[in-house]
């Protein structure tokens, strides 16, 4: 009954809108459902999309989905082939390869290729076409307290990080030297930035992410290597011997680490660049105006500074109508070429604009941008994930190994790391 009345209503609506159409000669209204995580940067990008949707006569339905179920829900929707729920989805390089088969190529979106080198590869489909339009580049960066540490004394090495921290702690200027996330999925903010800045990686060969090449090399974990052991020992000492980091840090996510840094209880942290805005916002932080950015301190084995940068993007499911796909692409293209909108996004959130053409504009006018851009983009790069199906599980195994090493005694670190080699190898594709 309800279905009947609804379809009657629909026919009536259609009929009336048709009359209206022929009368005014306006375009037919297209509706696009936008599914995303409600992150400040994405929200800022959605604002750009909304502006252009209005311009193009498209109705945007916003469906924010909690991050805690985003991936299972979206994959379930895509694999079930549902066409009525999302027309544009937020996509992340970690899942790019899992989802690419369900997504339309967006190669024909205006200026979609204006990204830093190698950034769209994680979203490539089998034909080598990208399935994602960039929203922002995500990256981690080293933050320090400018009121405690003059620029020329910012630690360049791990040893300096320890000595400067200890000095500040002894002088009672700050409670902790370094604080950062360490629990699973926050591995980047402790173990990994040090790993990548100590000439080390999870698998050999270093910094390679091409599955074919990795397969040929046999997916050899570097878990028991000297460079990995140095990293583990550095963190073990930070927690237990040098005590420059709080003892509970093994359980910290970004929330705890940022809370401590923002309260002024730590001198250094590593976090996503997008937190620069938060840290310097007096409404949110006790240390507003006292936060600077710098390159990562280097490990003993380092051969140069290395940053991870990766893209968040918009994608379009294959199964939706061609007409909707075209509308979605047109909308995304408008966002990609909106210089002012992207600069606004950068100012609001500290997230680098999606289009590299806009970077050049900012190079001319924004010293803050120049500084961050130097740190992030004028350095060697690494992808923050591997791109095989089982990566999330293997990341968890890696995290468990490292946490176990942190909770055990210092002498046991080598043994704990060695015990991790086989499981991490088994986690990789056969």
């Amino acid at each position: 009954m309800r279905i009947l009345s609804r379809s009657v209503a629909r026919v009536l609506l259609l009929a009336s809108s048709l009359t209206a159409l022929s009368a005014v000669g306006a375009r037919a209204e297209t509706t696009l459902n936008l599914c995303y995580m409600n992150h400040p940067v994405i929200a800022a990008n959605v604002t750009i999309l909304e502006k252009w949707a209005k311009e193009q006569g498209v109705t945007l339905n916003k469906t924010p989905v909690s991050y805690s179920v985003y991936l299972p829900k979206i994959t379930q929707m895509l694999s079930a082939g549902a066409t009525d729920q999302c027309d544009i989805i937020w996509n992340n390089d970690d899942w790019g390869q899992d989802l690419e088969g369900y997504l339309a190529s967006v190669e024909d979106v205006t200026e979609v290729r204006n990204v830093a080198e190698g950034q769209l590869e994680p979203f490539h489909n089998k034909e080598g076409q990208t399935t994602a339009v960039p929203i922002v580049t995500t990256a981690g960066i080293f933050f320090y307290r400018t009121d405690l540490v003059p620029e020329d004394q910012v630690p360049k090495t791990w040893d300096q990080l320890v000595s400067v921290s200890k000095k500040l702690q002894e002088e009672d200027k700050v409670r902790w030297g370094y604080v950062g996330g360490m629990s699973y999925t926050n591995t980047f903010f402790s173990f990994w930035w040090t790993l990548w800045n100590n000439n080390c990686d999870i698998y050999e060969p270093l910094y390679e992410r091409d599955n074919v090449k990795m397969g040929e090399a046999g997916w050899k974990p570097m878990t028991a290597s000297a460079c990995q052991k140095e990293t583990a020992e550095f963190w073990w000492d930070a927690l237990h011997a040098n005590k420059i980091s709080p003892p509970g840090m093994t359980t910290y996510s970004r929330d705890e680490a940022n809370a401590i840094f923002q309260a002024g209880d730590a001198a250094f942290t590593v976090a996503d660049t997008t937190f620069l805005g938060n840290f310097n916002n007096p409404d949110k932080s006790k240390i507003a105006g006292k936060v600077g950015i710098a390159t990562f301190p280097q490990g003993p084995n380092s051969s140069g500074h290395r940053n991870w940068i990766d893209i968040w993007g918009w994608s379009i499911p294959k199964v939706i109508d061609a007409e909707k796909q075209a509308a979605a692409k047109k909308l995304l293209g408008a966002m990609m070429t909106d210089v002012d909108g992207q600069i606004e996004q950068w100012h609001l959130t500290g997230g680098p604009p999606p289009n590299t053409k806009v970077w050049k504009v900012l190079d001319e006018q924004d010293p803050n941008w120049v500084k961050m851009s130097k740190i992030l983009f004028d350095s060697a790069h690494v992808h923050d994930a591997y791109y095989f199906r089982n990566w999330a599980a293997t990341h968890k195994v890696y995290s468990d190994v490292m946490i176990r090493a942190m909770k055990g005694s210092r002498e046991d670190i080598q043994a704990t790391l060695e015990a991790g080699v086989q499981p991490i190898h088994d986690g990789a594709p056969k």
Binding site: N38, S66, P72, K73, Q85, A259, D272
Partner: protein, 286 residues
Amino acid sequence: MTVEPFTLPIARPGPTMFERFAPGAWRVFIGLVIVAVLMIFIAPVAILIVTSIRPASGIYYIWRGTEFTLQNYVEVLQQPQILHAMFNSFVMATLATVVSLGVTVGSGYMLSRFTGRIQKTWFATIYVFRTVPYISFVLPLYLVTTNLRIYDTYLGLLLPHIAVHVCFFSWLMKGFFDSINPSMEHAALIDGCTRWGAFRRVALPSAMPGIAALSILSWLWTWNEFLFALILTGQRTPMITSTMAQFVTETGTEWNLMSATAVLAMLPALLVTIFGQKYVIRGLRM
């Protein structure tokens, strides 16, 4: 002095040891226990409330500094979705409670008063399927609701909630009916009541406190439920919990807004509890 009061059975109610040595000590002790219990029960809620009125810069170190603000509430209430979600959750919790009650009073009564194959099968069924964790069937539930075209509608969330309540309700209802002496119903039957009449006039009123307790529990359960709300709703029927969960993002939690929303969400729940527990205590017996 004898130590008689400690041996069982006690022949006469007399003053306890406590009262002999220190009159009123027992009372003070009980009083202190109550205060301690209250503190334990209040503490996390109090911390939550204090958190929600702290400025975003003091949201974690709530014991540092004395700045308080209602800014979090202002910001939350400015989002039109929050009130919409509150309304949806209210409707959902109320409907789920009322309908579940409707469909399970009978089934609970049957479980308690009848024996036979149907009764046994029914009992076994609800028992077996209760043991399966939600996470293993919430995704198929998504498939079922999309295929029935009720995904992201009231119905698509209501029916799964009722299915979850069926077991809990039938079972506890059985417990309540079990603890009511059936002889009164037999008397009613002999007096010429129909089975239905005996159920309605005798069994049901006695089970009233139980039904009231169940209603409170199921209402609160539905109101506070996350997983179903997250998976089975989209932008058309947001629930308060799924809206709250949006403050959780990949790079952190907006805890100031989330705690304010949580406190707002507590208010209706508190009202229902206060209102409902009157019936738990009084029932229809007094």
